[in-house]
């Protein structure tokens, strides 16, 4: 019929708004830490990292960088989370090099590597790759959708 572009665009809006998205308020109450960091500092603009060694306030970002970061926030929120149950298969978060403690909030990447949620979110906000296997998280996510 040719009018598929007229569909609602709530999805785009939710990506741009990040964790104050109204669509899935319960799926990820903590959200990426840098975004939280940004929320708690009301007086100054939020701080983002377009690449790992680059630190910029939201007002300094180019339009392209803003879009990239908004996409990152949206994608991170779609990655599954859980709590450490004492499983012997995973013991340590390679980012903080600390042992997982029962009840720690975890995030699972599509490549099956697991980290503390706060640790991995801090990295994914800088670069969307798995620290352990360098697999791009967005590509892996698409593949896992296709195979499911």
């Amino acid at each position: 019929m040719g009018n598929c572009f007229k569909r609602s665009t709530t999805d785009d809006i939710s990506l741009l708004r990040g964790s104050d998205s109204v669509r899935e308020p319960s799926s990820d109450p903590v959200g990426p830490p840098s975004y939280q960091e940004a929320l708690s500092v009301q007086s100054s603009p939020p701080i983002y990292h377009p690449s790992p060694s680059l630190t910029q306030s939201a007002t300094q970002l180019s339009e392209e960088e803003q879009i990239r970061i908004a996409k990152r926030i949206g994608l991170i929120q779609h990655l599954p989370t859980g709590k450490y149950d004492g499983s012997k298969k995973i013991r340590e978060c390679v980012i903080c090099m600390g042992d997982f403690m029962v009840g720690d909030a975890l995030r699972y990447l599509p490549c099956m590597h697991t980290y503390h949620m706060t640790c991995i979110d801090g990295w994914l906000m800088r670069r969307l790759t798995c620290p352990s296997c360098i697999e791009p998280v967005d590509a892996a996510l698409l593949t896992s959708y296709e195979t499911n």
């Binding site: 990292h49 790992p52 060694s53 630190t55 390679v94 980012i95 903080c96 090099m97 600390g98 640790c119 801090g122 990295w123 800088r126 790759t129 620290p131 352990s132 360098i134």
Partner: protein, 155 residues
């Protein structure tokens, strides 16, 4: 004491302990200096036996920001003996992709040291980088500010 540390200090403290306890061959850390200032370490490195650098010893300086391990360490050769190598400039700057573009928080000081040992060990001819004179004259003091063009993985 541990609870007052930032996440980057906690991780550096763990890395320091494991490097002191179980260092890779030919690598040792100046523990006293690192304990005084966790954000700047000096590492001694011996040229591996059977390589062009056998019998030589080098010093590496690691500087960490409070965003480590999200932000890669700044790593340079320092001291009187800078290895003559196609990826090491005479001011100590190292052209190694894991120190910038390919950094990952799953890497560590130990992984960087092993990578540098292996970079030196695979060298077949001691030679400075072709653009050494120009680079050393014009570069930023911080090698992480250099837009490295990684073009040769063979050495």
């Amino acid at each position: 004491m541990t609870s007052a540390m930032s996440p980057s200090e906690r991780r550096l403290q763990k890395e320091l302990m494991s490097l002191i306890k179980d260092p890779p061959p030919g690598v040792s850390v100046d523990a006293e200096q690192a304990e005084q200032n966790l954000l700047q370490w000096t590492i001694h490195m011996e040229g591996a036996t059977g390589t062009l650098y056998e019998g030589e010893s080098f010093q590496l300086q690691f500087k960490f920001s409070n965003k480590y391990p999200f932000d890669s360490p700044e790593v340079t050769f320092v001291g009187s003996n800078i290895p003559v190598h196609p990826h090491v400039y005479s001011n100590g700057h190292i052209c190694l992709s894991i120190l910038t573009d390919d950094w990952s928080p799953a890497l560590s000081v130990q992984a960087v040291c092993l990578s540098i040992v292996s970079m030196l060990s695979s060298c077949r001819e001691k030679q400075q980088p072709p653009d050494n004179a120009f680079y050393v004259k014009t570069c930023n003091k911080n090698p992480k500010k250099t837009k490295w063009w990684y073009h040769d993985d063979s050495v």
